[in-house]
């Protein structure tokens, strides 16, 4: 069959990327999971033999609030990023091609400077003597002794700032392909501007919404630099614990167990959602 032979040839095209994923993603991930079942040795390496001890240590109730904080911070970040990005990309797709390129450039510009430097910039912005704090105090929005830095709010703010482009780019790709004549049709059929937007535009870019949500959530869950730099002592995310196990405790098996657990915590819900979506779609058609 013609389509069959073409299909197998297309398979060949994906070989390089499959090989890349296999060597640099799948195998390391398996190694990480395997390491979790190894004993730690005293010099920060991995000992011989197998043990379940590290897995049992994960039941430490101290992890629970950290896991919960990681999930809700990532969840809120995802939600806020989508709420900001959907109307933004709607406008970007509607303006003329020149303006569109400028806006796209503005979204990408932050990537041109180093991530750490941008976090430092936020640190000085939010600092008690920083311009933002001074301005808000001067406007009487906050009191003189309010702290904008080193709390969970700062972590959330900087998370959203960092992740927003990752929501905008996939959503913009979807919005650009959206047929805006459909909005005319919706208005014509009695939907006001808001309902045309929510009933026709939002479903029209739902693939972009899903990839934006996955992108932002996954990238947020693994963060540890932001909580460390702008958060307080009680604002740690799971990433901070992993970093701590690696860099200060020198306990690789424990870090691996945490990382594996986090991976499962992200992958399982995603798998459930995608299976449910596929199943639901089959039933609808």
């Amino acid at each position: 069959m013609i389509s069959g032979s073409r299909g197998s040839k297309q398979w060949l095209l994906t070989l390089p990327s499959l090989a890349w994923l296999g060597v640099f993603f799948v195998i390391p991930s398996i190694l990480v999971v395997l390491t979790a079942f190894r004993p730690a040795d005293l010099h920060g390496g991995v000992g011989a033999g197998w043990t379940m001890a590290t897995i049992h240590e994960l039941r430490d109730p101290a992890y629970l609030p950290i896991l919960w904080r990681t999930v809700w911070l990532s969840g809120v970040t995802t939600l806020v990023c989508l709420v900001l990005a959907v109307p933004m990309t709607f406008q970007m797709a509607r303006v003329g091609p020149r303006m569109r390129q400028w806006l796209l450039l503005l979204v990408i510009i932050p990537f041109l400077s180093n991530f750490l430097i941008r976090i430092f910039a936020w640190k000085s912005l939010l600092h008690p003597e920083g311009p933002l704090t001074r301005l808000l105090v001067w406007l009487h929005f906050i009191s003189e002794d309010a702290m904008l830095l080193n709390n969970v709010g700062a972590v959330l703010l900087v998370l959203i700032y960092t992740q927003l482009p990752f929501a905008i780019l996939p959503l913009y790709a979807a919005a650009e392909k959206f047929d805006f004549a459909l909005l005319d049709a919706a208005r014509d059929l009695g939907a006001g501007p808001w309902r045309s937007f929510s009933k026709v535009f939002v479903p029209g870019v739902r693939r972009g919404l899903v990839s934006a949500a996955v992108m932002v959530f996954v990238c947020s869950v693994g963060q540890y630099v932001i909580p460390q730099m702008v958060g307080g002592a009680s604002d740690e995310m799971l990433g901070n614990k992993i970093a701590q196990r690696v860099f200060s405790d020198r306990n690789l098996p424990h870090a691996s167990a945490l990382a594996g657990g986090l991976m499962l915590a992200v992958l399982v819900p995603m798998l459930v959602v995608s299976i449910w979506q596929r199943f639901g779609r089959k039933e609808a058609s």
């Binding site: 459909l182 005319d184 059929l189 009695g190 939907a191 026709v200 029209g204 058609s285």
Partner: protein
């Protein structure tokens, strides 16, 4: 209640260009009316103003006596069948048709029966659960019509409804549209650039050119008595001659002096005075060809010429005939050539003739 949809001195400018220039027209209830013209003539802009997507700079639009000029599209008693149908890809056929009623927050039972009845009307009941992407072009169009009509609009706008279909399907949908119009009795406004479509779909046609309405008339009148050479060429083919009125006659005829051809006698339409420069139009199929000069004494205009070329179209043959600097197109059914069995070949000398009633005086314009 004769004037149901009224366009009252409407003007719309985009930048320096007047897309619609002081247009006024009135459509009767239940009428099938076409806006016909070449691309860029302003017909689509006019349609979008009726639908509410554009706001006129000046003028008013009324439906059933209500001024809708300032209403947003969702509040107008008007629905549109869009050029590429603009069906919602994430909804199935049934949900697409139900969209308008749902937006109107109608009772569930009314939505169900209304949508079912409308799908019955456009014969798509068995496709109700399919997505638009799974339908053929003709089916998509019927969904678009059902989706608009289910809201019981007072005016249905159809933007180039047949442009996206292939020829066979187009002819079928022409009849289908006429049937649907008869069944629902709603006022239909078509926008089209295709004169054949406009002629077979509508009771009356407004021919538009450069933002203005050239003529509003029934298809027959537009074809038989076009008022301008633009209308004459846009609807059908035409031969034009520029000449001077030389002799007025009692019965409403005028003799026109045409340089290099002769002085045919034609209907004056009561618009001509002596010595006036004017333009004469004769349809190609109104011209007869004979080998011999037609009998004199008959009130017939006859001129000699030489066949330059001919094209055979099956149902008819077209000839190009040279008479001095004039190149005249004549269109004949084979049997009507009275010179015997053979068709006149290249280089044959022939006589062209037409009856005085078949000549039309049209407005003299710069553009031919």
């Amino acid at each position: 209640m004769d004037d149901f949809l009224v366009i009252d001195h409407v003007t719309k400018t985009f930048g320096a260009q007047r897309a619609v220039d002081d247009v006024s027209l009135a459509v009767s209830p239940g009428e099938a009316f076409s806006l016909l013209g070449p691309s860029g003539c302003g017909k689509t802009t006019l349609l979008r103003m009726i639908a509410g997507f554009e706001r006129p700079d000046r003028g008013r639009i009324l439906v059933a006596g209500q001024d809708i000029t300032e209403l947003p599209p969702e509040q107008r008693p008007v629905n549109t069948v869009f050029q590429n149908y603009a069906l919602f890809p994430h909804l199935n056929v049934w949900e697409n048709v139900a969209f308008g009623l749902r937006m109107g927050r109608r009772p569930r039972e009314e939505i169900r029966s209304g949508v079912d009845r409308m799908l019955e009307l456009v014969r798509l009941a068995e496709h109700a659960r399919k997505r638009p992407a799974q339908l053929s072009g003709g089916q998509r169009q019927r969904v678009a019509i059902a989706r608009a009509l289910v809201n019981r609009p007072q005016v249905l706008l159809l933007d180039e409804p047949l442009a996206a279909l292939d020829l066979k399907l187009r002819q079928h949908m022409l009849m289908e549209l006429n049937t649907i119009h008869e069944q629902v009795g709603t006022t239909f406004i078509y926008v089209t650039h295709d004169q054949g479509e406009a002629m077979s779909l509508s009771n009356r046609i407004a021919v538009m050119n450069a933002g203005k309405v050239e003529q509003i008339d029934s298809p027959e009148h537009l074809y038989e008595t076009p008022r301008s050479s633009f209308v004459a060429t846009f609807i059908g083919d035409a031969n034009f001659f520029t000449g001077k009125a030389v002799e007025m006659q009692h019965e409403g005829y005028v003799r026109v002096m045409i340089e290099g051809l002769g002085s045919p006698l034609v209907l004056s339409n009561g618009v001509v005075s002596s010595n006036q420069m004017l333009r004469l139009m004769v349809r190609p199929e109104k011209i007869s060809l004979t080998l011999k000069r037609p009998l004199s004494g008959e009130r017939v205009n006859a001129f000699p010429g030489v066949v330059e070329d001919s094209s055979y179209f099956g149902s008819h043959t077209r000839y190009r005939i040279r008479a001095g600097e004039h190149l005249i197109t004549a269109q004949l059914q084979r049997s009507r050539f009275s010179g015997g069995e053979i068709s006149p070949a290249h280089g044959t000398s022939v006589w062209m003739s037409f009856h005085p009633d078949e000549g039309r005086i049209v407005r003299l314009e710069d553009a031919a």
